[in-house]
Symmetry: C2
Amino acid sequence: MPTDAVRLFNQPRLLTPGPTSVPPAVLLEMAQPIIHHRTKQFQGIFKDVSEKLQALFRTTGPVLTIAGSGTTAYEAAQVSLVVPGSKAVTVAGGKFGERWQDVYDAHGVEQIKINVPWGDAVTGDQIEQALKANPDVSVVTLCHSETSTATVADVQGIAQVVRGSGALLIVDGITSVGAMPVEMDQWGIDVLVTGSQKALMLPPGLGMVGLGPRALERLESVKAAGYYNLDLRRWLASWHKHDVPFTPPVSLIRGLRVALELIEAEGLENVWARSAKLAAATRAALQALGLKLISTSPSDSVTGAYYPDGVDDSQFRSALRDRYGIHIAGGQDGRGDKWKGKIFRLSHMGYVDAGDTLAALSAIESQLRSAGLKANPGTALAAAGVELQNA
Amino acid sequence: MPTDAVRLFNQPRLLTPGPTSVPPAVLLEMAQPIIHHRTKQFQGIFKDVSEKLQALFRTTGPVLTIAGSGTTAYEAAQVSLVVPGSKAVTVAGGKFGERWQDVYDAHGVEQIKINVPWGDAVTGDQIEQALKANPDVSVVTLCHSETSTATVADVQGIAQVVRGSGALLIVDGITSVGAMPVEMDQWGIDVLVTGSQKALMLPPGLGMVGLGPRALERLESVKAAGYYNLDLRRWLASWHKHDVPFTPPVSLIRGLRVALELIEAEGLENVWARSAKLAAATRAALQALGLKLISTSPSDSVTGAYYPDGVDDSQFRSALRDRYGIHIAGGQDGRGDKWKGKIFRLSHMGYVDAGDTLAALSAIESQLRSAGLKANPGTALAAAGVELQNA
C-alpha cells in the first residue's frame, strides 16, 4: 500500500492569516438569490450590518463598508483625513506598515517614517518624539497587528499619546478587529479599519472604516482627493441613510450579517479568548519543537516562526497542503527585510478552532520531522494540549 | 469573562458511529433540483452508483440499493434467503446481532443462537460446531463490525467455515464496508449489507445488499415472504435494467455517486488505512488516559471505552456537545448486557479525519479531567500524535 497516499488529514483547512475559512451558515446565506440594492430589503440588511459593526468596533460612531480589500479601506482613511500640506507619521515594522507608507508616497504626502525592525513593535515614546519634533503632523498611521511579522502594537498606549496632539490616529485593525481586544471609543482611536476576509469569516471583498468624532470633524474640512475610495464623505452621507454610494457586493453584505450574528451569539469576548488561546497553544507547540518565534511582541491573531535549518519553505508548505490539506502562509519580503523562505505563519482568526489548530500543529511537526527536525513525535500536540487546558 | 462560555472548539464535529458527517461536495450534489426517476438521466446515475458499489464491495455480483436504513436491507437479506422450514445460525455479541435475531423471531424462523459475551468476537470454531450439529441450517448471520461493542469478527475465516456447508453467510457490514478490508468475492461472503450513513458519508436513508452467486441461486428457489423489502427479487430484476422497483430517494442516490467518486479518487485502501490509523491513535490515547477498551477484538471503524469511576455519561456527553461541539455515542442496552451509561464510543468512518479525532481526544481528556480523572494535560494528544506519525 502506498503509505504516502494515505491522507490522515482529509479535509481542507485554510489557516492562512487571510483569507480565512467561511462558516457554512455564511456560505449558504451568500448562495441566496441576488436582490437589488436600491430596495428596502437591502437597506434593512445594511442597517443591521452597520449596527453590528459598531458593536464589533466598540464604537458609537459610523462604520462604513466599502467594496474592495482592506487596502481600499485603509487608503480611503489615509487620503480622506490627512490635511493637505501637513505631514503624516507612519510606522512600519513589516510589509503592511510599509504599504501604508507607499500609499502616502503615491499621493505625495510628506511623511515622518518610523521604521522599527521587523518583528518588533513601535513604542508610544517613539510616536511621542516624532509628534513633538513635528508639530505639523495631521495623522499617525500604524498597524495594530502587523500580519507579516505577527506582531502586536500597544494601540491603547499609543492612542493616549496621539490624543495629546492635534493628529488623528488611523489604525490598521485588519488582523485585529474581531480577533483581539480593540476598544475604538474607549481607547480613543480616531479611525479603525478592517477587512472582510480575516476575523469576520467572509470571503475577501469588503473593507470597513470606523470614524470617531475627531475624524468626522476633520472630514468636513479636508478637500477630497478623488472619487470612489478617496472621498469617505460620499460613503458617510449614504451611510446615514442605511445605504451605499455605489453598487455594493450584495451577497457579501448578506453574508456579513450572518457572520456578525455568529460573533454576537458567541460573544465577542469569547471570540477574542478563543483566538488568544489558539495563539498561546501554537506558540507553546512551536517552541516545544525548538523553533524561534518571529516576533518579540506576538500577536494573538497570527503566529510566525523561523524554519529550522535545512527546511525548504516551498517544499514544506506544498507538502502541508498536498499531504495534509493544511494551508499556511510563508514569509514576505519588505524593502529591507527579506523573510520569504525563512518563516511560516498561521492564523488564529475567525472560524478556525482548536481542532484545526491541532491538525495544523500535528501536520507541521510531522512534516518538520520528515525534513530532519529532531523531536519526539507528539511533542507539539502535548504542548498545545497543556496550553488548551490551562484555565 | 465567563471562561466556561469560551468555545475553543467552535465547529460541529459528528463522531457518532452513524450517522457520520457528510462532505460539502456531497451536500451540494444533494441540493441539486429533483429529477424524475423514470428517466435516462436517473438510470445513468443509478448505473454509475451500482458499478461503484461493486468496486466498494469487491464483488462482480449485483449490489442492490434499497431505500430505508441498514435494518431494511438486512431484513431483506435475512428473509429473502432463509429456506422456509430450515434453521438459521445467528450470532449475537451486541445490540445489532441481537436485532438480527429479533428479525428472525418476528418472522418465525427457527434459530441456533450463538451468543458471545459483549465485547468478544465469535470464532470460526463456534460457527463450525453449530453447523455440524444442525445440518438443516440454511443461513448464518453475523456482524462483521458489531457497532454497539466496537468489535470486529474474523469474517474471512468464518466465510471459509460456512462455505464447507450448504448454508449462506449473510454479513452485516454496516460499519465495516468502506471502513476496513472486506473482500466479498475473495473471502466468499454470500450476502453483504451496508447502510448509507456510515463509511459512505451520506445522510441516513439507503441500505445496500451485495449478492454472491450462491445467494443469487438461492433467490430463485425461495418463496417471497412479503413485498417491499421482503422480496429481493423485485430489486434484483430492476437492478439488471439500472432501475429500482419503487420510487427511490433520488437526492441521496445522486449524493451517493459523489461520495463513491470521492472514495474512488482517494483509493479504497487509503480510506481503510486512514480509519485504521485513527482507530489506533484513539485506542492509544484512551489507554494512555488509563481507560479500558470495551472490546477484546477492537474494530477499526469505532472505538469504545469504559468510563472511569465517577463520570456521569449523560453529563459527560452533553458537555462534549455543548462546550466542544463534539458529538460521540454512549452505550446501548441489550437483552442481558446493559452498557447504557457505562461506556462511550467514537467513530473513525467516512469523512472524519485526524483533525476531528485530535479535537475529540483533546475534548474527551479535558472533560474527563474536569470530572476528576487524574491525568496530565496533553496525555491523550501526545499518545495520539505518536501513533499518527508511526509509519
